[in-house]
């Protein structure tokens, strides 16, 4: 491992430590029993098999949107449509589950695939607008997320709603379409396997395929990519379609794995969380499960803390924000990095000099 990548790991680790330290200091000042609270937050998720299961359950949707956003951001496209793709994916997954009668095993696969396609179409819109009209994909994707929410609410209340359900929710998802439980005593479902497959696929696509290479080159330096004959339009479209597809799959997997009815009347936020996951994973899908696990762990930890102490779980949002800032801040540890890079260059020169 080169010293620069060692430094990257060090920077990430330090960012996390500093962010947690800041959160603990805040807890110390506001809580009546700060040490019990901090203890709950750090060790709470390990207390029982069921609670640790919650961490894995929360990790699953984060992996999907995380891998999706990795691919979209790698092309240097700030398409924030993963939030909407996830929502629409869940919606279409529910519709397919309710309206298309199929035998089990095939049923969830079809529903998930359709959810993915819907998600892909969704992130395709900002990409297309960007290419055709040069309008900012960031702005149009933000607006589209709200449209996705209203559209979902419309379909729910006019086509899917079960009047007997009390709260606004669809009819019961048939058992043939639901993802089965993978590990006893938890709600961890077979979606975990799909999430792992998607991670491996995302890594191979982005780092081992020609198209993936083109996406990354175009993302790092569009001018250079253009001059070396890379088709920028193709790169943008493929990356955004694929990213949305994966986020959409995530939505339907989440719905079929964790819900008995479609009842999402607000955006769930996994698309925004994916920005944190992607930042932590340095846009590499291979690291997405690790960062998703970390994020899920501190959230469940904070949740447990809030249930038994006087600290509310939103403290985690401070931790997350600080982590993003420190990891993205180029100046953080920059002097140290500069030293290491010059050292490496010098040693390289020395060895070449000997030859």
């Amino acid at each position: 491992m080169s010293k620069t990548s060692k430094l990257n790991i060090l920077r990430t680790a330090l960012s996390i430590i500093i962010a947690l330290a800041i959160s603990f200091i805040i807890i110390y000042f506001i809580s009546e029993e700060p040490f019990r609270a901090i203890n709950k937050m750090i060790l709470g998720p390990l207390r029982s098999r069921r609670i640790f299961g919650n961490v894995i359950e929360l990790m699953i949707p984060l992996i999907f949107t995380g891998v999706g956003v990795c691919i979209m951001f790698s092309a240097s496209q700030f398409n924030l449509g993963a939030e909407g793709s996830f929502h629409i994916g869940g919606l279409v997954g529910a519709m397919a589950a309710l309206w298309i009668p199929l035998p089990s095993f095939i049923h969830p696969l079809v529903a998930i695939l359709l959810g993915g396609i819907a998600g892909a179409i969704f992130t395709f819109i900002p990409a297309l607008l960007k290419i055709k009209t040069s309008s900012s994909e960031l702005v149009s994707s933000l607006m589209l997320n709200y449209i996705a929410l209203s559209f979902g609410n419309y379909i729910l209340s006019y086509f899917l709603k079960d009047p007997k359900a009390g709260a606004p929710a669809s009819y019961l998802i048939p058992n043939t379409a639901r993802l089965s439980i993978l590990i006893n005593d938890t709600s961890i479902h077979t979606g975990l396997i799909i999430a792992i497959l998607v991670t491996i696929f995302g890594y191979i696509f982005l780092y081992k395929s020609k198209t993936g290479y083109e996406i990354r080159v175009a993302g790092q330096n569009e001018q250079f990519a253009r001059y070396s004959g890379i088709n920028i339009v193709k790169v943008i479209l493929i990356s955004q379609l694929l990213g949305g597809f994966i986020a959409g799959i995530g939505g339907s997997v989440q719905l079929l794995g964790m819900y008995r009815r479609f009842s999402w009347i607000v955006l769930l936020g996994y698309g925004w969380d994916a920005v944190i996951v992607t930042t932590l994973a340095k846009k590499n899908p291979l690291y997405v499960p690790i960062s998703a696990f970390f994020l899920a762990y501190i959230r469940i930890g904070a949740d447990i803390m809030s249930r038994t102490t006087d600290v509310s779980p939103e403290i985690v949002s401070i931790t997350q924000g600080v982590i993003i800032i420190l990891i993205v801040a180029e100046q953080f540890l920059s002097k140290y990095r500069h030293k290491i890079i010059t050292k490496e260059a010098k040693s390289l020169l020395d060895t070449e000099g000997v030859e």
């Binding site: 607008l129 009209t133 309008s135 900012s136 960031l138 149009s140 709200y146 509310s312 924000g321 800032i325």
Partner: protein, 309 residues
């Protein structure tokens, strides 16, 4: 249908349009000032949310809506400055820094609300105050126009005034010239002796203060309390409206009004014709996307034309 027509062409409708437009116009002007200096301020959403809560807390603490507003503005300016620090000093990507601020604001406001009031949703247990509505002398007696313009919240007048102030600031003052120069070409600006970072710090601070006005309006005018996530994407809409209005204060006014009309129209159509509420809710966002696409496309064509000459 006739009744919808009547409602739309009533003074009450336009009164409502101005009310709905106010926070969006603040956000749009905030986006304009920041983007003119070359910083894309996606943190507007979070700044508005923070200012909305700070206004509520301090207006209750001092029993004064004005002091509440003052502290809201200070909080907005500080968060703007913080964004400047992250982007300029720590060299953080502006979009990711903004997203980080938004995430912290969304959770942090709930966190703070819980510490202060024990509630996690709304601030109804805090006895906060509302900024006054204001009768305009002379104008209030003119039929129709009086109904539309008079008795609006004080901040609605402030925002209309801000359009003029920001226009003058950007186009008629040395600071405005510097802001535009820095945003247009920072290297060129630096070569003529402009302190680029200083100008950008000033611009994001002004941007933060403008956004804070919008946030304070939401919790101390539009509604009389803070509720979590109450900005509901208005900061983002401000960014869209700024892009659509070509980053000019006059453009900001026109596009925000368009958005306000689309929003108010939604409420009217609901009472008039049978269109599902959920579809009506999409209207402002669809308007924004279509408008943005048209504007960007015509700008793209313009640039191509200039290049071919």
């Amino acid at each position: 249908m006739q009744s919808v027509f009547n409602i739309i062409f009533s003074p009450d409708f336009f009164y409502d349009v101005l009310r709905v437009t106010t926070p969006i116009l603040f956000a749009t002007l905030a986006a304009t000032v920041a983007s003119r200096s070359g910083i894309f301020n996606i943190a507007l959403e979070g700044i508005m949310l923070i200012a909305a809560l700070v206004g509520v807390i301090f207006s209750a603490y001092f029993s004064s809506a004005w002091l509440g507003l003052l502290f809201a503005l200070i909080s907005g300016g500080l968060v703007g400055l913080f964004l400047g620090f992250l982007v300029l000093k720590l060299k953080t990507d502006a979009i990711l820094a903004g997203i980080a601020i938004n995430l912290m604001a969304a959770g942090g406001t709930i966190f703070l609300l819980y510490i202060i009031s024990g509630d996690r949703g709304v601030s109804s247990s805090i006895k906060s105050l509302v900024l006054p509505k204001f009768p305009l002398p002379v104008i209030k007696n003119i039929p129709i126009i009086g109904t539309i313009l008079s008795m609006q919240n004080i901040l609605t007048y402030v925002v209309l005034l801000s359009v003029i102030v920001i226009h003058i600031l950007l186009y008629k003052t040395p600071l405005g010239l510097k802001i535009r120069a820095v945003g247009e070409n920072p290297n060129a600006a630096e070569s003529v002796g402009i302190n680029v970072h200083k100008i950008q710090y000033i611009a994001v601070t002004i941007s933060g203060i403008l956004a804070a006005f919008g946030g304070a309006f939401l919790s101390m005018g539009y509604l009389s309390m803070f509720s979590n996530g109450m900005t509901a994407g208005r900061g983002f809409i401000g960014l869209a409206a700024d892009a659509m209005g070509g980053s000019t204060p006059i453009g900001a006014l026109l596009v925000s009004l368009l958005f306000g009309i689309a929003d108010s129209m939604g409420n009217v159509i609901q009472t008039g014709i049978k269109i599902p509420y959920e579809i009506v809710q999409m209207l402002p966002y669809i308007t924004t996307i279509v408008g943005l696409a048209i504007f960007s496309y015509s700008k793209k064509k313009q640039i191509e034309k200039l290049k071919s000459k």
